[in-house]
């Protein structure tokens, strides 16, 4: 550990005077002239939302966990599609682009994008970076908003990347004599993107609700894999369970999206189930966060 020698010179605190702002605090250049900016700072503009979002996007990528997660999603999607290409050629299958994206959507995107959503919230608690985050921006709801927008950006970026990879996979499939049907219905694209968005945002909601990485991920997977089975069993046993299932089972309501059928989605049921599984936990989480003590 070396000891810095040039310490004092670089520090330019503002002397307290009762005069308000004589010299505007122009830059952070460490010149002696800067040392005598007066009283309360002239740097009195709030942190713009765009900057908070930029920082949040960076924060999802600048940790080892974040990098590996994104790399795994991208690499996993590519591998899954490559396998599809080979299987398709060998078995003389007829494939469209949505066949490729749907598989990628199930694995790895459907599995890992929600984890990204969870981590964007819980990572701050586990690593206690929330102390720095909320001292630099004490208006906590702005951080939550920035994180939400970040989730949307990442989901859409992932959707676009998957579609591009899908097109590449199709080209390879086509090139090697696969039976490729080159049409890409708009509603398939939209429902695919929507599905990724729901994945990230539901993960975000579980993160906000639970604030603990492993617990939130386990809960999300329970919701995602276990709960549909429970609902299915209930629906097959009791008529009343079957009739309420479309109003409480978010996964069930999303099934048309997984088929790429945007038009088949019952939007009333979609609204109700998303209120249960996304709006309610986020609202609860935000409410708690605004009051919580950050330690």
């Amino acid at each position: 550990m070396n000891t810095a020698m040039n310490t004092g010179d670089l520090l330019q605190p503002t002397p307290h005077t009762n005069q308000r702002t004589i010299v505007p605090h122009v830059s952070t250049a460490l010149t002696p002239s800067m040392s005598l900016t007066a009283g309360p700072r002239a740097v009195d503009s709030s942190i713009p939302m765009s900057r908070l979002i930029k920082v949040e996007v960076r924060k999802t990528m600048n940790t080892r966990a974040g990098k590996w997660l994104l790399a795994t999603i991208a690499g996993g999607a590519a591998i899954v599609m490559a396998i599809m290409v080979i299987v398709g050629i060998v078995n003389d299958e007829v494939f469209g682009i949505t066949d490729f994206t749907q598989v990628a959507s199930f694995l790895p995107m459907g599995l890992l994008l929600p984890v990204l959503g969870v981590l964007s919230v819980t990572g701050e608690w586990g690593q206690r970076t929330n102390i720095a985050t909320f001292t630099l921006e004490p208006r906590r709801s702005r951080i939550v908003a920035a994180k939400l927008v970040t989730g949307v950006i990442l989901a859409l970026a992932a959707a676009v990347a998957a579609l591009v990879t899908g097109v590449v996979a199709m080209s390879v499939f086509d090139l090697f004599g696969g039976d490729a049907t080159w049409n890409l219905p708009t509603q398939a694209v939209v429902s695919f993107a929507l599905l990724q968005l729901i994945g990230v945002l539901t993960g975000f909601a579980f993160g906000m609700l639970i604030l603990n990485t492993p617990a939130a991920i386990v809960s999300y997977f329970a919701y995602s894999f276990l709960l549909p089975t429970v609902f299915l069993a209930g629906a097959s046993l009791w008529d009343w369970a079957e009739s309420i299932r479309p109003w409480i089972d978010f996964n069930f309501v999303q099934e048309p999206l997984m088929e790429g059928q945007l038009s088949d989605v019952n939007w009333g049921q979609f609204a109700i189930t998303s209120a249960i599984w996304f709006v309610a936990p986020v609202a609860f989480g935000v409410r708690r966060l605004l009051r919580a003590e950050i330690k």
């Binding site: 330019q12 002397p15 040392s35 740097v43 503009s45 942190i47 940790t63």
Partner: protein
């Protein structure tokens, strides 16, 4: 300048911070001293809006922390040097801070150089940092926004003796340029060398404040151990004379010279069984004032104004 005004924070029945009031003036280093669990960290978290006070408020040049736009440019905060992502490099941690505050990236290099973290060290992940390196990085983070106020919780933790001396020089230079520094410690000797003013806190309450000399006077110079035949008569007489004291079993620790206590006793015709100057140093004062039993002591008439608290004893 930081103004802490009647800040109280309770957790159920437990009062972590009890009506704490003090000011940290610009151009000065204010030491916030107390044993572990005395309420220092809670008070500091309240200052920067991480913990809501049950009552009271803290202002920076008249403004609440929450109302400071881009607060990192006004108040530099280091509450826990380990509270950063272990998977990020030191440089990346500063980069995020600089981005959030809207600073040029050159500021990151300047701060790294200032706290003595080398290029290679800055590229290492925080998980591989020693506590001393984390502390330096935390100080760099606090200074990034070129703030007018610094709030540092136990900044000397983990620094080696050379590092502590380095930090003293750094903070002294900063205060001499007009900056406001509030730093906490549970170690008296860390603070007494550097602080212009010390605030002693125990069990959530401020038990004494003043500069080093006045606190020494409080303890040794002006302190008296007194024991009377009729203790309640003596406490009443001292209270009437506006002299601060503390009850310690059958003894009274009076914050006045023996001659003053003697005079008061004579006037009231109280029979003294013991009357002697307290020879304890600042450390003893610190320990006695902040001791666990302090909370139960009936009357410590030390309050929180900025002047040394020697009541009327020396007048």
């Amino acid at each position: 300048m930081i103004s802490v005004e009647h800040v109280t924070r309770s957790y159920g029945d437990f009062i972590a911070v009890d009506d704490v009031t003090f000011e940290a003036a610009s151009g000065h280093i204010t030491g916030f001293l107390g044993p572990n669990g005395a309420g220092k960290s809670t008070t500091m978290r309240i200052m920067v809006g991480l913990t809501a006070p049950t009552s009271g408020r803290v202002t920076f040049d008249g403004r609440l922390y929450h109302d400071l736009p881009n607060p990192g440019r006004h108040v530099g905060v280091l509450l826990d040097a380990s509270a950063q992502h272990a998977g990020r490099t030191g440089r990346e941690i500063l980069t995020i801070g600089a981005m959030t505050m809207g600073l040029p990236m050159s500021r990151v290099d300047e701060m790294l150089a200032m706290v003595g973290l080398s290029e290679t060290e800055s590229e290492r992940r925080l998980g591989n940092y020693s506590l001393g390196m984390k502390q330096r990085l935390g100080i760099a983070h606090a200074l990034l926004g070129d703030p007018a106020v610094l709030i540092l919780d136990e900044p000397a933790n983990g620094l080696d003796p050379a590092g502590i001396r380095w930090m003293r020089g750094l903070l002294r230079g900063y205060a001499d340029r007009g900056g406001t520094v509030l730093l906490s410690s549970h170690l008296l000797h860390e603070v007494e060398l550097i602080a212009d003013k010390m605030i002693l806190i125990g069990n959530g309450r401020i038990v004494a404040s003043g500069n080093r000399e006045s606190l020494i006077q409080l303890s040794g110079g002006a302190g008296t151990v007194a024991k009377a035949d009729d203790q309640s008569a003596l406490t009443a007489a001292l209270t009437a004379a506006n002299v601060a004291f503390r009850v310690d079993g059958l003894q009274l620790h009076v914050f006045a010279r023996p001659i003053e206590v003697g005079r008061i006793a004579v006037e009231q015709q109280i029979v003294m069984t013991e009357l002697r100057a307290q020879q304890d140093g600042l450390e003893d004062l610190f320990l006695t004032l902040t001791a666990e039993s302090q909370r139960d002591a009936p009357d410590t008439t030390l309050d929180t104004a900025h002047e040394p608290q020697i009541a009327g004893a020396l007048s």
